[in-house]
Amino acid sequence: MSNNVWIIAEQKEGKLKKVSFELLGIGKKLAEKTGGSLSALLLGQQIDKLTEKLDGYGASKIFVCDSEILANYSNEGYTKAIVDLVKAHNPAILLGGATASGRDLFPRVAARLETGLASDCVGLEINNEGLLVAERPLFAGKVLVDTLIPEARPQMACLRPNVLPVPERGSEKAEIEKVAVELQPQDLKATIKEMVKTAGEKIDLTEASVIVSGGRGMASKENFKILEELAAAFGEGAAVGASRSAVDSDFAPHDTQVGQTGKVVNPNLYIACGISGSIQHLAGMRTSKYIVAINKDPEAPIFQVADYGIVDDLFKIVPLFTEEVKKLKAQD
């Protein structure tokens, strides 16, 4: 058994997910403690170009499984490729992102490898005995448990996106190892025929690191444009959300609804514009790391959960906000 650390670098349609870099960052720290090396595993089709992007984050090796069958994510195909590779190299630790596909993939991989899995972790470290300690929130975040996998190997964990920072990039290059994938199309019981997307290249709300959300105070569908502009100013990882009443009034599409009956989100920054903050809405976003509320009504319940509150007309504040964000981004 080695003491190496592996991470799965997740990509979708030729773009690496941010959590892949977060994984490299923590993976490097863990590998330093275990005294092993860090490797990344990249699966997909025509993904050679992506390996360069993974360079410089501490991985000494990148395994590339490039196959037509892996072009789209499939539970069966990805599981087989990963399991074969893990069995051949026996890493001590295998990490992935707790994304939609990660949550689908990792339980099956763990079952095939007959090992343990800590899902949806918010912190990872190595204890004095050299074991992986995975910190997981339970009961809606009221308690944190440390999960250990004492005997079975590899020790597997899924990391919740947006929890750990993306590390500084260095200059070292990783060695590329292409891996032949022994998969036939008939090995997949389900194949993807078509991906139907909602208009635009929006990112999934539950994975966004910044959410600019509008409520009934937006007054019209057109006015949501200023929220889109603010989200755009934040750049990649930012998305526009909406409250139920905004969705009901047709200001925003249903898949952007945040709240008890919509999506439960957990971004680093949640900007609530013209949202009074009914409990149904709060139930979907109260665990956001920072909450900024802009509302005319100082009595609005949203201010009870907000870290920063602005009592003013959102149509005045949001454009100013957008300008300031642009300025700050320009300085970067």
Binding site: F139, A140, G141, K142, S245, Q260, T261, A283, P301
Partner: protein, 670 residues
């Protein structure tokens, strides 16, 4: 001349025997049909509906004989009353004649329908016969000319009406022809027959020709009457039997009580998937329904264009019962293969659309129960198939982990009271009352204001009370109505353990849902308490002089009845009296008020589901409130408060209407 009439006059006494033979056959046909239905009801599980017989007879008399519920709608009510009593009196008349002819006359040679009694008998029978004819004509007019939406017409309706009409008409023609031939003066007491006789009384017509006509009518009348009896058990006329039965087997349990799944730990199936899972009374309900449609006229889901109509649900069950009846006794395999009722006979959308407001049951003249069936069928979906919307999944999860509907930690449940010097029972339990705050009152910013107002009033009145603090859990009401009986029982039993631990006997709550479940359901798990809704409790304090309003509030207010306070628990007056007690406050009423109140749309778990079909129920209620020139809508329920306030915002009517809980208004006034 003797004042009486000869039975079997003109047709010959020999007909007695064929008539009785015929009658026997018809009665056998009737009994055969009835027994077939009874056997269908008996596939259901046992249920005791034979307790308290005197009260049951009382219900039968008042709701059956005297139409107490049916008369709530004057046109169909009075017309049906005419038809009903007309038929009943004619039936009694026929029975009297039978007794005379076959008992007293045959055995003792005594004829008692004679003299003054004969005149009275003739007058009464003609009068009620006429009422019945008027009734049947007006009912047909309503059904086929006025065509109210709630009536669907089937051939059996027309056949039934025509049969009744012809039986009555031929009866009167019989009488008229007999009088035309015999012409005794005293027959003017048979005033309908007397008038008809004038049609035939002409010198040109010979006695022979009229005699033949009379005999023909007599036979037609007889055959139609027998046909009617035979038809009863095979058509909607069965309600002659089943509706009174259902009124007799009325439920004495509070309408807000949902029955538990007993011994839930050892059950292998939950809820209702096939007809056999219902009780016999639930199956009788299906046969007692007359398709009158009053339920759907009062159903908020139906009126807001959801796929649910209580009438359709009951009728679908009835038709399913009839069709499944054919498979009975074909062995267990056939039964095993029947698809579950939920999703096949009654669609899932129908089941989830119900707000359990109880308006359908309140309107039903024959006491068909609907909520119990909806909950049983939901239980199957939830507990056996895990079929419910994603919103409900989150709701259940939150209830399981945090004992409240939202993703909020249970430890923060009493944070609202941090700055109020309140007794927490874990620290001090020798108080008179428990104030059960409820989830909305504990966590929802808007409803926390209500809690604070109520606490202020209770403190002002010097009431000794405490709260459970972070130990309090959801009462389980909504979880139960969504069908998750398992989780509901866990919550209920945990609360009961807490109540027992602190020796709680009296509970005050401002949520009618908590109130209803403590009052009507906790006894199922040996939790017996005296439960007060805050409107009742505050009214008592006011009456005792412990609360007084100093300033009053200048406003025109309309009170919105919560279903679980009003319809399910009969508390209509306390909140209105409280409102009226505030100085300078004018109280107005919506058109749909008290028993006829319109749901806010949140009951039965609807609060936690998206309302994607039809019009929003809360919007409809707002329109009703807005049309009565009030500026304040007073509520007494956190669900209603939330729904109405949301509706007002969505309809952008904030300038016209504001919603307050009664406690808030009273605090303002004091």
């Amino acid at each position: 001349m003797e004042i009486t009439r000869e039975i079997f006059w003109n047709v010959g006494h020999w007909v007695r025997w064929p008539v009785y033979g015929f009658g026997l056959i018809v009665i056998i046909i009737f009994i055969f049909g009835l027994v077939k239905r009874i056997r269908l009801w008996r596939i259901g599980k046992p249920e005791n509906r034979l307790d308290n017989i005197p009260r049951r007879i009382g219900a039968l008399l008042s709701f059956g004989l005297f139409h107490r519920r049916i008369l709530k709608e004057p046109y169909p009510g009075i017309t049906h009353l005419c038809l009903f009593w007309g038929f009943l009196i004619l039936l009694l008349g026929t029975i009297l004649i039978f007794i005379q002819e076959d008992l007293t006359k045959l055995i003792f040679g005594k004829v008692f329908i004679q003299g003054n009694f004969y005149l009275f008998f003739s007058l009464v029978l003609d009068l009620f016969g006429l009422l019945a004819i008027i009734g049947v004509i007006l009912l047909a007019f309503r059904r086929y000319v006025l065509k109210p939406d709630r009536l669907d017409n089937k051939p059996e309706d027309l056949i039934g009406l025509i049969l009744i009409f012809l039986v009555l008409l031929t009866g009167f023609f019989n009488e008229g022809l007999r009088i035309a031939i015999t012409r005794p003066d005293f027959e003017k007491y048979s005033f309908v027959g007397w008038e008809i006789s004038k049609l035939f009384a002409s010198p040109e017509r010979s006695m022979a020709s009229l005699g033949g006509l009379h005999a023909t009518f007599w036979w037609i009348h007889l055959l139609l009457a027998f046909g009617f009896i035979g038809y009863v058990a095979y058509s909607r006329l069965l309600h002659l039997i089943t509706s009174p039965l259902n009124q007799f087997f009325i439920s004495f349990a509070p309408s807000g009580e949902v029955k538990p799944i007993p011994d839930i730990e050892n059950q292998e199936t939950f809820g209702v998937s096939k007809l056999q899972d219902f009780t016999w009374k639930q199956l009788l309900d299906a046969d007692a329904c007359t398709r009158c449609g009053r339920c759907q006229d009062n159903c908020p889901a139906h009126l807001s264009e959801k796929p649910l109509s209580p009438k359709k649900v009951i009728q679908d069950l009835k038709n399913y019962l009839t069709s499944q009846g054919k498979n009975l006794g074909k062995g267990e395999d056939a039964e095993e293969q029947t698809p579950p009722i939920s999703g096949n006979v009654i669609s899932e959308d129908e089941l989830w659309a119900c707000t359990t407001c109880g308006a359908c049951q309140q309107a039903c003249p024959v006491f068909v129960e609907v909520i119990d069936k909806v909950v049983d069928l939901r239980r199957y979906l939830v507990l056996m198939e895990s079929k419910f919307s994603p919103e409900v999944k989150l709701f259940f999860k939150n209830m399981e982990t945090n004992y409240n509907p939202w993703t909020i930690g249970f430890a923060t449940r009493a944070d609202w009271a941090k700055d109020l010097d309140l007794n927490i029972l874990s620290e001090k339990s020798d108080v008179d009352y428990l104030l059960f705050v409820g989830c909305a009152g504990s966590f929802d910013e808007r409803n926390k204001k209500v809690t604070r107002s109520l606490v202020g009033l209770l403190q002002k009145a010097g009431v000794s009370f405490g709260i459970l603090g972070a130990e309090e859990m959801c009462c389980g009401e909504t979880v139960r109505r969504i069908g998750n009986e398992y989780l509901a029982q866990i919550l209920m039993q945990q609360n009961i353990e807490l109540f027992t631990k602190y020796g709680i006997k009296k509970i005050i709550t401002f949520c009618p849902h908590c109130f209803n479940t403590f009052k009507n359901e906790y006894h199922q798990f040996d939790g017996n308490y005296q439960v007060f809704h805050h409107t009742e409790f505050l009214w008592n304090l006011f009456k005792e002089g412990k609360l007084r309003w100093k300033t009053g509030v200048e406003m025109t207010a309309v009170y919105h009845d919560s279903c679980y306070l009003g319809r399910h628990n009969n508390i209509y007056d306390a909140p209105r009296r409280l409102l009226a007690s505030i100085q300078n406050t004018r109280l107005v009423e919506m058109e749909q008020t008290r028993e006829k109140s319109f749901c806010c749309g949140a009951g039965g778990g609807r609060m936690w589901m998206e309302e994607t079909l039809g019009t929003r129920i809360n919007h409809m209620r707002i329109d009703q409130a807005a049309s009565c020139d009030a500026s304040v809508v007073a509520t007494a329920c956190p669900y209603c408060l939330t729904m109405l306030e949301d509706g007002i915002k969505e309809k952008e009517m904030e300038n016209l209407l504001t919603v307050f809980d009664l406690a808030e208004l009273l605090e303002k006034a004091s």
